[in-house]
Symmetry: D3
Subunit: 199 residues, 6 copies
């Protein structure tokens, strides 16, 4: 039957598409899910929702891994989460804003910053470097024409062209993720709302 799957703890659906039973999932997907669940303490709903399409699950998380877990470049883990929060707000994506807001709090140890960026990034307590980083990410998010001036502005804050690619790629990847989340009606796990709020 075509019905969406509910989160065990809340009875709320994970999203609009059915999630297969673990025993019907390909082994590599189960393995990745168990690894993530172990590390995070719970399984973020995006894994459940994407498991509806195993080939796309693999492509999505391989891509995510290639850009979020690469260890070159000047972007810290907190920087990457900040980019995701700021751009996902533009697309009003509940899952991405709430989940990556939580991850930002954990990586940055600045529990109020994501909340500030969600309301008004230009008025948040950010360094000039971080403002420049978000300005570039948001230009990519809006699909603006990206000109040499954009790159030069980043350079003035210490980001070279490889960093620009990293910022742009994260913004572009979440332009995709936010839209998937919308048609899947992906909702954040309740754990994300409170994670990292207290030191």
């Amino acid at each position: 039957a075509y019905s969406s799957t509910k989160e065990e703890s809340t009875g709320r659906p994970v999203g609009r598409y059915p999630v297969p039973n673990k025993k019907d999932m390909p082994y590599d997907i189960v393995e990745l899910m168990e690894e993530v669940e172990m590390k995070t303490g719970f399984l973020p709903n995006v894994f459940k929702a994407m498991s509806h399409r195993p080939a796309e699950f693999r492509a999505f998380f391989a891509y995510y891994n290639a850009i979020m877990n690469k260890d070159t470049g000047r972007l810290s883990k907190a920087d990457k989460e900040l980019i995701i929060v700021a751009t996902s707000v533009v697309n009003r994506c509940p899952y991405c804003v709430v989940a990556h807001g939580a991850l930002h709090r954990i990586y940055s140890k600045q529990p109020a910053l994501a909340d500030q960026v969600i309301v008004n990034w230009k008025l948040a307590d950010l360094s000039d470097r971080d403002l420049a980083m978000l300005e570039f990410a948001l230009a990519v998010c809006r699909a603006d024409n990206i000109t040499e001036e954009h790159f030069q502005k980043l350079e003035r804050h210490g980001f070279d062209r490889e960093d620009a690619w990293d910022i742009g790629m994260i913004s572009a990847f979440f332009a995709m993720s936010n839209r998937i989340a919308h048609y899947v009606d992906l909702r954040p796990n309740k754990e994300f709302y409170t994670m990292g709020r207290t030191p």
Copy 2:
């Protein structure tokens, strides 16, 4: 030296980032490029541009392959290209509009239709089914909230929820691609402008 690479035939740069020499590329990337070049008659610039980042090249084309070459669902090759053209126009992406407009002409054998969709999709010579498909794709493209009404409207034109996922995923993937194309300054190969214009 940090300089962009030019297209051999025109002397115009492929994009903003340097493209490695073939001999410095990983073997699997060269192999994929040669296969594509053989099939298409030339190597589309997106392959050159993405080869700047081999891990992301692999992730990008694996994802592309998973959604564009899957053989389930009701979307024809021409349908998929039409979705790409209609959504890439919103993001004013020269590469995606021109390249996928060419592919649409070839697959659909309707040489004027992509040009019509580029100017004004609602006034193009499209069936109600195709209008409904583009309406959904464009709602995802704009990151609108996607509601049950959206799915019901698709169903009235013969698209089930799996087709909706396919339409949504292509729109979402090209939301990403359009934005990558912007920061990479990816330009279409000159061949695309004339492909498929005459029967």
Copy 3:
């Protein structure tokens, strides 16, 4: 000297205008501040910022009191805070979103709801009644023409014309407050970020 006043606990300015020393303030203003501080546990920055102009301080809080503390009508304290959060997000007002988000958590005992409304009110876990209430509040917030259809829609969810006035007036009053907060550069007290997050 013309310099802004810092929050004692953080060294961050309260806003852009100087705040007088308590001893230079009119007695009625000091009295109100002490009453609020006693009740809340700290003095919300809006009181400090507005004390720069005693006559406007009195007018502002008299008006606030007339609409927020009236005891007729169907709007609960949580309803009123929800209206403020939803409309202040449109104006990207850090103080009002953060402070009234905190008050909403406290009055509603639903710690995640304000966060959901901040990202995307239409996708938040709200009843149809609450959606109708916010729809009217947001139409007023955007200075839309308000028609009989707006009132009829409210009536279908149990709100009569007096309730409509209450919703509209709160939305209108915070249209003013959000704009004052912008030119005053009013920032939320740090206490608001965490208030009411845990039951």
Copy 4:
């Protein structure tokens, strides 16, 4: 019965909410109305409309009085009316544009200027000082982030930070008034259309 009250002279309703009979109004409200009527020659509809809620009537006009009739600062009576006209046009508020356009004509003795500002303030016959004043007022009206550059631009035209507060507060107060006028459906008295047109 719940029906709106008509203007005596035209039979047109004053607004959407009933206006109490004078004999049922609190004495202070009657007194203020009579004073205004004596001075203006007729009773502006905003007084009638707000009398539906005596507590809010008092708060509204006390606030109005505190900002419009203060006698410090560099804003003339005509300046204040110009700010109201320019910002109320943005919110398409018939009452505020027509009534305060009339007051501007009377105070400024420039009978065409308000009409020009209503169509296109940037092309109106305004001094650079007045353009700077309206630019700030309109930034507040749009709920833009207000930065140091905004204040510096005002300073170059002779407005200090206290004047900036005055401009901002009038813009903010009418952001509220315009929205109240919309849900109350407040219409201008017919007298306003012709007041001050001839010297």
Copy 5:
């Protein structure tokens, strides 16, 4: 010398381009100007401004005449002026709004109506027929796609397809005129502001 020409009575320039001396103008243009001046009592600035280009002067006024002075169809003179006012407001064109607002007052004998339409056409004291007429005119003004529904809505208010053409053509012609007025910086004669205000 390349300088703009001033209005005799005010010393204000008519627009940005020089106006030839009467003795250097082609005879047919002088003749038309004298006829208009006789009828109106003064020469509207649009005639002066367009005389800078005699061939375009002739084409412009021939077109104007063909659509404004045709004597078939259901549009009264007042209807046509109302369409011009409502659409020229969208383009914030000082000349067209002020001049045709004056003409509307004269033809309609309703001195307040144009002022109402300038602020907010949907709240003006208009019949349903007039609202339908303006709705169509504004759809053309915004270059919306015009569908069968648009024509059907007009038909329900007694306008057939020939009337629709008339409404659309006036809206389209003033889409041109407003833009010419912008680059010419055409300003209204001072007489227009007061014409037709008193019966």
Copy 6:
């Protein structure tokens, strides 16, 4: 009977209004049509559609002729077509974009340029002069206020004030034409899609 007229070759309607039979048309209109058909090889649909209104047909093409075929000024035939393409895209006008894109290809002998401008004029292979020309044309197209800075920017690229008028007038005339095309539902002749694509 009130029915639209179909293109002979395709059976598709020319537009929404009936086209008279040649024998019922005034002689001067037939003459002009035959001249155009001889020169172009087919009769562009705009001639057929406008013949529904002979007086407006004459005014429209006289105006068109006065601005498109004048032989003074710095605008080449290709420049004029480029302006039409770039501005008609903003109004999403199928006829004007497709027909004038074809004419641009023919006059410019650059078969890809119009296609580039249609997608994203700022990223097209244009000279700085051409970018400045389009920037002015698009400011007029959007009905922006046109200031001295606009003229000075044109001057820096060799365009004097008379050229500015020419650019502005073409943009303004097609602001009208695009809107007529919308309510007439004017569709391009099929010949335009392929004209000038191959050298």
